[in-house]
């Protein structure tokens, strides 16, 4: 059975077509890497699947059901780790987890043991009473993935989970992801710019550019097709070597200003 099935999905923002008629399937229990240059439409696609955005056209099926029709049921199956942190920095690690546990309707007696278990797994147990604002980038990321796993989702979305982290933490995060996948048979939908990592962890790869999927298959297939040795070379071969001009939106600018002030 396919965990995610997308057919002719399109998203338009006024005149701009962010996602242009894409179709793909993610079989259950696989790691699916969704790759593409900045601004290719990766995050928009994730937002549409996770019910944060409504598609302009096309169909999304999650385990055979349309997430837009029965949103809460679909949302319960998702664990989402967004590109930028969504933790409350004025709460402690434990409180962030507890908040999540209540939102996802985890029975009261299970909350504490489950949170402890995950914090242990992600090696954050000794810092659970610290405010998140005192955490390093890597710890925040780990906490966020731990939180995303708390309600044992069927599909884990990781939008650039290793962005801006040191090699140690990046390796660790992929190790966790692999372990979690084996332990709970979850499907993982990830995006990343670190193609070596994506290659190592993914069962299937799709490359998206300018809103269109230009390749879908295994990384061995793509290398064969482009006659290159690594996924990174194949990626450059397919998407071209131009640097993407991504104008910073007003939101980004505001965020930067606020970060500078803190």
């Amino acid at each position: 059975m396919n965990a995610i099935e997308v057919k002719n999905l399109t998203k338009k923002f006024k005149d701009f077509i962010a996602v242009d008629n894409i179709s793909f399937q993610v079989p259950e229990g696989q790691v699916f890497a969704f790759l593409g240059p900045n601004g290719a439409g990766k995050t928009t696609t994730i937002k549409m699947i996770t019910t944060l955005l409504r598609p302009t056209a096309g169909e999304i099926m999650v385990f055979g059901k349309d997430p837009q029709k029965n949103r809460d049921e679909a949302r319960q199956k998702f664990g989402v780790v967004f590109q930028d942190t969504t933790l409350d920095t004025d709460l402690t690690a434990y409180e962030n987890m507890y908040f999540h546990a209540v939102l996802y309707n985890i029975p009261k007696k299970d909350r504490k043991p489950k949170i402890e278990e995950l914090l242990n797994f992600f090696e954050l147990a000794d810092r659970k009473k610290d405010l998140v604002k005192n955490f390093s980038g890597g710890m925040k990321r780990r906490l966020e993935i731990a939180r995303g796993m708390l309600h044992v989702p069927k599909i884990l979305f990781l939008d650039e989970p290793t962005l801006g982290l040191d090699p140690q933490t990046r390796n660790k995060i992929w190790k966790y992801v692999k372990e979690l996948k084996q332990k709970h048979q979850i499907t993982v939908f990830l995006t990343s710019h670190y193609l070596e990592e994506a290659e190592a962890v993914a069962d299937q790869v799709a490359i998206i550019d300018h809103g269109k999927i230009i390749f879908n298959g295994t990384s061995a297939e793509i290398k064969q097709q482009t006659q290159t040795d690594s996924l990174e070379q194949a990626f450059l071969e397919i998407t071209g070597r131009d640097v993407r001009d991504e104008s910073a939106s007003s939101t980004d600018r505001m965020r930067q200003q606020l970060k500078a002030r803190r």
Binding site: L52, T86, L91, F99, V102
Partner: protein
């Protein structure tokens, strides 16, 4: 039942954030304090000479109401900050109704504003405001 739990936890979050931000609590007390001191003592004598009676008695309820309004407004705008910093997304992808998210926040903001109002109320009493005439 589930809605109540969600509303409660969002309310609790607002409250925890409020209690932890000492600077904000004291900062937001500065303005009412200024009004009570500067206007209270400054205009007090003129007001009394004009036959208006005790000026603090007249001023304090207004200052308290203003504190409640401003704190509530600040809590409303904090939604914008949460949106910029992404925390709103965490609640939006969760299987909870949008109504409970909004209601929890509104309730949290209202509680925080009420607490601030009560603090200013007792502060005003220090300056000679007596609610029972």
């Amino acid at each position: 039942m589930k809605h109540l739990k969600v509303i409660y936890i969002i309310w609790l979050r607002q409250l925890k954030r409020f209690i932890r931000s000492y600077s904000r609590i004291f900062g937001s007390l500065a303005q009412p304090l200024l009004f009570l001191v500067a206007l209270g003592y400054g205009f007090g004598s003129i007001y009394e000479q004009a036959g208006g009676g005790n000026y603090i008695q007249f001023l304090a309820p207004g200052v308290i109401a203003m504190t409640v309004i401003f704190t509530a407004m600040f809590n409303g705008t904090s939604l914008v900050f949460d949106k910029q910093f992404g925390f709103v997304k965490e609640t939006l992808v969760a299987p909870v109704s949008r109504f409970s998210i909004m209601f929890g926040r509104a309730l949290g903001g209202a509680t925080v504003a009420t607490i601030q109002g009560v603090i200013v109320f007792f502060l005003a009493m220090l300056f000679g405001f007596s609610p029972i005439s």
